[in-house]
Symmetry: C2
Subunit: 457 residues, 2 copies
C-alpha cells in the first residue's frame, strides 16, 4: 500500500468536511468557563454580546453540540485555498534514513501564509450575518491581521487592525498586504482610543505591545456602533473553526488506509494545535483509538511544561476575562523569540484540560535547534517553514530519528501551519549565526506565577 | 458540465507529463541561431561547452526532436511542488459579472514563488550528471537565484549567485532564502572576478547592474574548474523545461473537456510565456486547433509592441552571443518598474519567430493599471500576485469585460506565474498612491535601436 501513496494527498472539493467538530462534547471533564474578574462568575451570552458576535458567543459557550454545520458561504471560501494537502515527507524520510513514515498537513498555501484564515473567514461571516459594519482586532507580526483582512475583504466588512507600532514600522510588509486587502491598519498605541491616548501621554516614545493593541481594539469595538472585536487564537470558537485541519487530515488518512501513531503540533495559544489534534483526541475520548499526541512549545515560553494550571488573565493589561489554563502568569514577558505566534503566556482552556487529563504530552524546544530543523526540512521538502511550524518539525525529526535507532516504522503526522516568507529577519540571524536562545529561570517563572490573580473556583 | 468543474483542478501525480515539448520541431520557420559576435557564425556545441552544461547545449541547438524525456530524478523533484493547480476563477468571474470562463495556471505554490523552479531543477540535474561541482548565475530581485539555490541544494551542488548589489542590500529577504538553501550569494560588482574588480576601480560607489552581474557569473564559471553558468530565461532550453506548465494545463483542460479560446501570459525574456503557450501554439502549427494567444508586456519595456526584429546582444555588457529577437536594443534601460522579471530589452528567439509569423499578438500595459488588476484579483481570488503575473491578470480582466459587453462566453486561460510576497515595496507604493508609470518616448527607443550591432544574416 505504502508505495502507492502520492507525495501530496489532495482531497477532492467534495471531500472537504462540511461540519466543524466540537471536542468539548466528548470531554468528560469540560474546560473551565471564562470568569468575569469583577463578579467572579462565569461569563454568559449577555456579558459577551457587547464585545463579540452573537453566533460566535454561542459557539464559545456550547460544551454539548458535537458538530456545527459549516455555512455554505464559508465552505465556498474554503474552496479558494482548501483542501490543504497532506504531504508524505518522502524526501525528509530519505534524508533522515528513518523507517518512520512522516506526513505533514500543510496550511501555508494561501496569502495569509498560515491556518489563521480558517477562523478569520468564519468570524467575518458571522459578523456580516449579524449585520455589523466591521470588526476590530490587534496583530503583532501581522499573520492574524492579514487573514482577517482577506476575510473582511471577501464579505465587504470594514476591518480595523491595531498593529503593534514597532512591527508597523519595522515589518511593513504584512501591513501592506493588509492594506492591499483594504484593511485600516493603525500603529498602536494611537490617538484613536482613550487607552491609546493615555498610554501615549504617559510613555510618549513607546513602540507599543500586544497587550496595548488588544486594549485599543476592544475599546474601538465596544465604543463604535456596528463593530465587534475578533481574536485569532485561544478561544473555544477559534479551536472549533480550526478543526477543519484535523478533520481533513482524518479523511485523507482514511482514504489511503493510514493509521498514525503520533500527532505533533506547535503550541502557542492553541489555535493550530487544537484544530489539528482535537478530532484525533475525540477518537481517544470515545475509546475508538489511541494516539501519542505531542504539543511543542518554545523553551522561551513553556506554558505547558513549566506553567501552572490556574485561573489567569488572558492579557497583560488584565482587562480581559479570566480563563483556567496552563499559564506562566499574565505578567510573564517571553524573550523576543522569532516564533511570535507562540509567545503567549497561557494556553487554550480546552487544550489545558485535555493536557491536564493526560490526553497529550508536551515538549519545549530551543530556538536555534528549531531553526536547524527548519533548514533541514526546507532543503529537502522545498517549503521554507514558519518559525512557529518549525517547532513541530523539530520534534517530528527527533521522533523519526528515534525510530531509526529502534527500527520502529511509526507513522508520524505533524502540522505545518505556515510559511516563513515574512520571517527572513529570523533566518538571517540563523544564517549569520547570531541567533540566541533564552530560557527563563525558575526564579523568573516563580516571580511571574506569584502575581496570579487570587481566585478560588 | 461547467458546474461540475472544481475551483481547483489538480492532476494526479501520475498525470504529470513525462516529456517536455520542443515547439521548434513543429515550426516551419525555425528560430534564428545564436551568433558568435566575433566570427559572425552560428554557435555550435564546441562554442557553448565552456560556458553551459553539455546536455543543455544539445537541447539548446536541437530544432528537430519534438519531445524530450524528463529524467526520473527531475520528475521526482517536480512532485515536491507539482502538479500545479489550474484554478477556475469563479470568484473573479462573479466580481466582474462576466459570462467568460476564466482559468489560471498557478505556479506560485513553492518557496521560489514562481515557475522558475521548473527549469532550475533541470539545469541543476544536468550539471550534476556531468559531474560538475557547481554552477554560477546572476540574479536581480532574486527569484531565479532562489529557485536555483533550491535545486542545487537538492543535488548537493555548489551554487554561486551574483546578486546586483543594490538588491543585495535593499532586498535582503530573498538573499536569506538563498543562504538558507546553502547558496553562496555575492553582491555584484565584487572583488572575486576581474570584471568586478575593474568595475569597482572605475566606479567605486556603484550599486551594480544585471549586466555586470551576468559578466561576473560567466567569468566565475569559465575560470573555475568544474563550474558552468546557468540562466533562467530567454534560452531555448529554458522554454523547453517550462513547457511542463502548458502541457499540464492541456491535460487538465482535456480531463474536463474544456476548450480555451484565448491563452494569455506575461512576457519578459519569455520563460513563462513560452512554457505556457508553446504547447498550444504547437497545436496551431500542426493545424489541429486555433487559439488567440496574447503576450502581455510592460509599457515601460515594450519589446514586442515597439521593438525591432533584429540580431542583438542579449546583455547590456555586449559580451554574450547575438540572438535574433524582438528587441529595444541592448543599451535600452527600462525604467525602474516593479516587474523586475519583465525588464529585459529583448525576447526569446523562439517566441520572436512565432510572433513574427503571426501566431501570437502582444499588448503593452501600464504599471498602475496592472496593480489595480492585481488588487482586484487578490481581493476575490485570495492570492497576492507577483507584479509580473499581474500583467496577464490585467489583460484577462480586460478580455472578460469585453465578453460582458458582447455577451460572448469565451474561455480564457492565463498564466499566474507567481506570488508577490517579496514585492511589498511595490504594493506599498500602489497603496500609498505614489506609483508612477514611465513609458519610453519614440525618440528613446529610436536612439537605442540606432545602436544595434551592424550585422547582416
Amino acid at each position: 500500500m505504502s508505495d502507492k501513496i502520492p507525495y501530496k494527498i489532495y482531497l477532492t472539493e467534495d471531500e472537504i468536511p462540511t461540519q466543524w467538530y466540537n471536542v468539548r462534547a466528548d470531554m468528560k471533564n469540560k474546560p473551565a468557563p471564562l470568569i468575569n474578574p469583577g463578579t467572579g462568575k462565569p461569563l454568559g451570552l449577555d456579558d459577551l454580546a457587547p464585545i463579540f458576535c452573537d453566533e460566535l458567543n454561542k459557539q464559545e459557550l456550547d460544551n454539548d453540540t458535537k458538530f456545527f454545520d459549516i455555512p455554505e458561504e464559508i465552505l465556498k471560501f474554503y474552496k479558494m485555498y482548501r483542501p490543504s494537502p497532506l504531504v508524505r515527507a518522502y524526501f525528509l524520510e530519505k534524508a533522515l534514513g528513518t523507517p518512520a513514515k512522516i506526513y505533514y498537513k500543510f496550511e501555508g498555501n494561501n496569502t495569509s501564509g498560515s491556518h489563521k484564515l480558517n477562523s478569520a473567514i468564519a468570524q467575518a461571516y458571522y459578523a456580516k450575518k449579524q449585520g455589523l459594519k466591521g470588526v476590530t482586532t490587534e496583530t503583532g507580526a501581522g499573520q492574524w491581521g492579514t487573514a482577517l483582512s482577506m476575510a473582511c475583504s471577501y464579505f465587504d466588512l470594514d476591518c480595523r487592525v491595531y498593529m503593534v507600532k514597532c512591527s508597523y514600522e519595522q515589518k511593513p510588509f504584512r501591513r501592506e498586504v493588509m492594506r492591499t486587502y483594504g484593511a485600516n491598519v493603525t500603529p498602536s498605541p494611537s490617538d484613536t482610543t482613550n487607552v491609546g491616548r493615555k498610554i501615549l501621554a504617559e510613555h510618549p516614545g513607546t513602540t507599543g505591545s500586544l497587550g496595548c493593541a488588544i486594549s485599543e481594539a476592544v475599546e474601538a469595538a465596544v465604543s463604535t456602533e456596528g463593530y465587534r472585536y475578533v481574536l485569532g487564537s485561544v478561544l473555544n470558537q477559534v479551536l472549533l473553526h480550526q478543526t477543519i485541519i484535523g478533520l481533513e487530515t482524518q479523511v485523507a488518512l482514511k482514504k489511503y488506509g493510514i493509521k498514525p501513531d503520533m500527532i505533533i503540533g506547535c503550541a502557542g495559544g492553541g489555535s493550530n494545535l487544537g484544530g489539528l489534534v482535537s478530532p484525533f483526541i475525540g477518537e481517544m475520548l470515545r475509546g475508538e483509538a489511541n494516539y501519542q499526541v505531542i504539543a511543542v512549545e518554545p523553551a522561551s515560553c513553556p506554558s505547558f511544561t513549566r506553567g501552572k494550571y490556574a485561573y489567569d488573565f488572558c492579557d497583560t493589561g488584565m482587562i480581559c476575562p479570566l480563563a483556567k489554563m496552563y499559564t506562566l502568569g499574565s505578567q510573564f514577558i517571553p524573550s523576543a523569540s522569532h516564533a511570535g505566534g507562540l509567545r503567549f503566556h497561557g494556553m487554550s482552556s480546552i487544550l489545558s484540560q485535555l493536557y491536564h487529563d493526560g490526553y497529550m504530552e508536551a515538549r519545549a524546544v530551543e530556538q536555534t535547534a528549531v531553526f536547524e530543523a527548519a533548514q533541514k526540512f526546507a532543503r529537502v521538502e522545498g517549503i521554507l517553514p514558519a518559525p512557529e511550524s518549525s517547532h513541530a518539525i523539530k520534534v517530528a525529526i527527533d521522533e523519526a530519528l528515534k525510530c531509526k535507532e529502534t527500527g520502529e516504522e511509526k507513522t508520524i503526522v505533524f502540522g505545518l501551519t505556515g510559511t516563513g516568507y515574512f520571517d527572513l529577519v529570523a533566518y538571517e540571524q540563523f544564517n549569520s549565526k547570531t541567533m540566541t536562545d533564552t530560557i527563563p529561570t525558575d526564579e523568573d517563572i516563580a516571580a511571574s506565577l506569584a502575581k496570579l490573580p487570587n481566585v478560588n473556583f
